[in-house]
């Protein structure tokens, strides 16, 4: 593979990104090759040292924000032919629901993760606040002459508060873990788009 083929290859794998982004990347890699060739490497060796076109494209695409990446991948790389447009329109009842449901699945995964986080937080918060209120109510009851029932209330409140305090640390790490899972999920989606682009 020579210099020009290599640069063309990179360009093709980046198609869909803005022209400015592509030009900037190409200028950079052109300079990189020239500098290494000036240093005494052959064209082939320089290309190997800089990284394969796939590596170059993957690094750039993985660093591109998700929305930009999606539009770059979805955008057709050439003008659509008339029959393709007809097919696209006729097929709309099919592909719109499919795309919509894929989107809905991704959204619900995120919703489930977030509601789990919220539940965990609510349990800890609820038991601490609830326990505290029960203790206060018990003390007031005791002053008002509530007797055994008021004492039981204080005891119950203390137990619940204790449970809440015990649960705090494990729940905190659970929430952090769920949050990380969410991030990994987004990364995975991104990877799907990049893989498709690089293979093409």
């Amino acid at each position: 593979m020579n210099r020009q083929e290599y640069l063309d290859d990179i360009k093709e794998k980046l198609l869909g990104l803005s022209e400015e982004d592509i030009d900037k990347a190409l200028e950079f890699y052109m300079e990189a090759l020239d500098d290494r060739i000036d240093d005494g490497l052959t064209e082939e060796q320089a290309i190997n040292a800089v990284g394969t076109a796939d590596e170059v494209a993957e690094q750039i695409l993985m660093d591109t924000p998700l929305p930009k990446l999606v539009s770059a991948t979805v955008k057709p790389k050439r003008a659509l032919k008339a029959w393709e447009i007809v097919l696209l329109i006729l097929g709309a009842p099919l592909w719109i629901p499919i795309v919509a449901s894929l989107f809905a699945v991704a959204l619900s995964v995120v919703c489930v993760l977030f509601s789990l986080m919220l539940t965990v937080i609510a349990v800890v918060f609820g038991s601490i606040v609830g326990g505290f209120v029960a203790v206060i109510a018990g003390i007031t009851g005791l002053i008002a002459g509530g007797g055994v029932a008021a004492l039981a209330k204080i005891g119950g409140g203390l137990v619940v508060m204790g449970l809440g305090a015990l649960l705090f640390l494990p729940c905190k790490s659970l929430v952090l873990w769920l949050f990380e899972l969410c991030g990994r999920f987004f990364k995975w989606i991104k990877k799907q788009f990049v893989k498709k682009n690089v293979k093409d």
Partner: protein, 103 residues
């Protein structure tokens, strides 16, 4: 080395490579090679990220009849290096404690 950690360290290494004199892609790679070995395909996104974060500026200059991009550090970039140094002072203190002689 942990991927996330390497990524962060590379950004600082690149800033350190241009902190005294402006530099260009291939020279940056050669300068940081003794510490972390990378290729242009890794360097490019890092430079782009640093530029977007306002840590460096880029200008093109002619060299040998072709264009070469030179990178200069900004005030923001210098601040990033200072932050890094302060953060690692804390980490080194922790290291001293963790690695102290067993008794």
């Amino acid at each position: 080395m942990d991927v996330q950690l390497k990524r962060g360290l590379l950004e600082i290494l690149v800033l350190a490579a241009i902190k005294n004199d402006d530099s260009y892609g291939y020279k940056i790679i050669k300068d940081i090679k003794p510490y972390l070995s990378i290729s242009e395909s890794t360097l490019y996104p890092i430079l782009k990220r640093l530029e977007e974060a306002g840590c460096l500026t880029v200008r093109s200059e002619e060299y040998n009849g072709r264009l070469r991009k030179y990178y200069s550090i900004t005030k923001n970039g210098k601040q990033r290096i200072e932050d890094f140094k302060n953060e690692w002072k804390e980490i080194m203190d922790i290291y001293e404690y963790v690695a102290r002689e067993e008794q």
